[in-house]
Symmetry: C2
Subunit: 416 residues, 2 copies
């Protein structure tokens, strides 16, 4: 019995096999995400992992269905496992936006699903840190969101030498397209060609641009100039004011493939260019209106940061911490007549917040001690009874120091 | 565009509508679950929310398919969204059990899915705290697991007046069944009838018992006696030694519906009997062997605790804390010429761990202050410039106390 291809099992460390992922590292990463979001004043939300299929096709068109885990449920509804979070967010915001002061700053850590060919950094599911700011079009908000991307990556231990945010603008490309007499109905095709530029041969790209009345030379010249728009300059200035200037650069090669982006767009990459994008996002000022059927019209900007590429990068750069079992006290029960008293002590230790392990079945003393060592317990506790008086022997396993305590002294130590 | 029936949207508090759930309360509950598991020495794991259909039918038979979100994926595989965690755990343990010292103490917080009729306390998805101990058959382990159930519920603020663990044993019922000459192939049917006893009329139950050669009177007499087996007595004794005796009672009406339970079984209920079971579990000593195709044979015991019933109970007993936006400092930018310096201060505050909010777009001063109050910020910070020298005015919004700091004093305060 095997798990499905492209899906992951998460085990506690040390990992039993190179084919499985670390549950400890995953939780550590989620905590970094949540902690940074908290410092930026973002609130957490979540929606269902299963949604009506239409929620996703409405935004991305019918082509997306080929990449979805979609099916008919037992009530004959067309449903799909969520491939991204933004449509759910737009649906949730549209339903209750009046109850929230703008701008709304929300984040989520959903698991997302796509039926795709597996590649390096790309599985059939991943977890994604999604953060969005809704209801404000000022470029200061773009800077705030990009600062969150930067500080989230910094919270994992990465520095300006490890990653960079490539900053671009749909508006800049829109202007370029109009200046070169592009036809509005070919704009998306043009964006797609720009998006594929890095991964296509010059011949291929030249052909694609010619098909929409553009020239590869003009496109390349525009990218090379890299003159920031007024909006991008404002974003840059505000990131520099925060001391985050070294983490960003203008790069018009970035345009984002999806149809719905409107203004600022960006992607985070490792500096060495060894990995796929670590994060990506941008403005989508028309999407809430689209999803709400015109009911609610709010500007928005957001990003997604997946766990797969980021984990690969952190691992390759040696940034992942070591994860231990985290046992504070291992209670040794060498004398079965003291099991009841030992259980009482275990309960007291746990109620005082300590992580406690012990052998629940009668076991030889040396085996218990060996287990305490394997678990890297900070200390062992052993009860002793002499003439009906119980003493507590607490031994620090690193310093080998031992403290002998009476019942009262043990109680005091617990409180301290 | 609506979410699917039986699925939930989780919003930040205050909630915009009675029809949605609190993301803050959910995170608070997950933290209680994880924190208690840590104190008990459990390690977290997770598996895929989508598994081969066979993983679930192998254990529960084909009938379960009627309740599953199952479908054929684009690779023509029969797959299902997980309705429970135990088969995934058994699969993961069977794959790598040699790498782990026994007993293995693991927990997970999966989201689970069932296509069922919606009822109070029962939706089509829920989150479940799943904890299992694998590789030890001693009753001391049963006590350890049940103590975890109790302390997890206590960690949410519930007391012995709010809930009780009803403790029973498949072995006791097995003995009863054999003593009354039950036929082995009717044992499961008999267990099912016991399981439904509380929710069935005496006539219905009498008929079901007669069909397997048993009498309702004998069954009722056995339940009334409630004599603990040796095994259950040992579990009880060890819970009493921990000071947790008041949280449990022997109750043979509990038997658990699923086929695979073997020894100790239990369910947690609110004392007033207003809600469905809060948690349930038991021994399943043969399941790992079944799932691993006979490759690995390990005894096991585990439980599941769902979030839906527990949240309803906590709400009704007034045990849920109040959740605030959690903003430490709201930075007021009343003078646009100080925006760059203010952004620098915001960055410093966040790097020092503070949760900071501000208006990223130019906004009237009184509107900013009103927003700080709405967010229940602990303090406001305002920069002032006089003759080119910047001072920092930090005001505690509760005490109304204001501190005026120089650049150096502000840096010192950040570190302190």
């Amino acid at each position: 019995m095997q798990r499905l291809p492209g899906f992951r099992d998460f085990y506690p460390e040390p990992l039993p096999h190179k084919d499985v992922w670390s549950a400890d590292a995953r939780n550590w990463l989620f905590n970094r995400w949540r902690e940074t979001a908290r410092r930026y004043g973002f609130r957490e939300y979540d929606g269902p992992p299963l949604e009506p299929l239409e929620l996703f096709t409405l935004k991305s068109g019918g082509e997306i269905v080929g990449q979805l885990y979609n099916f008919k449920d037992k009530g004959d509804r067309d449903v799909a496992m969520r491939p991204e979070m933004t449509p759910t967010l737009a649906r949730m915001i549209a339903a209750h936006e009046r109850q929230y002061k703008k701008p709304v700053k929300w984040f989520a850590v959903p698991q997302l699903f796509r039926y795709e060919k597996q590649q390096k950094g790309r599985l059939r599911e991943h977890f994604q840190f999604n953060a969005d700011i809704i209801g404000e079009s000022n470029a200061g908000i773009d800077a705030e969101l990009i600062a969150l991307v930067i500080d989230t990556l910094r919270a994992t231990g990465l520095t300006e030498e490890d990653f960079v945010i490539r900053l671009s603008s749909r508006n800049a490309w829109q202007e370029f397209f109009e200046k070169h007499d592009g036809k509005p109905d070919q704009a998306y095709e043009f964006y797609q060609a720009v998006d594929k530029l890095e991964r296509s041969s010059p011949e291929e790209s030249a052909k694609k641009f010619a098909a929409v009345g553009m020239s590869l030379d003009a496109v390349n010249a525009f990218i090379e100039t890299g003159e920031p728009t007024g909006e991008l300059q404002s974003v840059l200035d505000q990131l520099i004011a925060r001391g985050l200037g070294a983490f960003v650069k203008i790069d018009y090669q970035i345009i984002r493939g999806l149809a719905y982006y409107t203004g600022t767009v960006f992607e985070a990459f490792d500096r060495k260019g060894e990995f796929r994008a670590i994060a990506g996002g941008g403005r989508y000022d028309n999407l809430v209106k689209l999803i709400s059927g015109g009911k609610v019209d709010l500007p928005a900007i957001g990003f997604g940061m997946g766990d797969v590429v980021l984990m690969e990068l952190l691992q390759s750069r040696g940034k992942l911490p070591e994860f231990k079992p985290g046992i504070d006290v291992y209670v040794l029960i060498e004398d079965e007549s003291l099991r009841a008293e030992s259980l009482k002590a275990i309960q007291q230790l746990r109620e005082a917040g300590r992580a406690v392990e012990f052998s629940a079945a009668p076991t030889k003393g040396d085996k218990q001690f060996k287990r305490a060592q394997e678990l890297q317990a900070t200390a062992t506790l052993r009860l002793e009874s002499k003439a009906g008086v119980i003493t507590f022997r607490l031994k620090n396993l690193e310093s080998r120091e031992e403290v002998v305590m009476s019942v009262e002294a043990f109680s005091n130590w617990l409180r301290g």
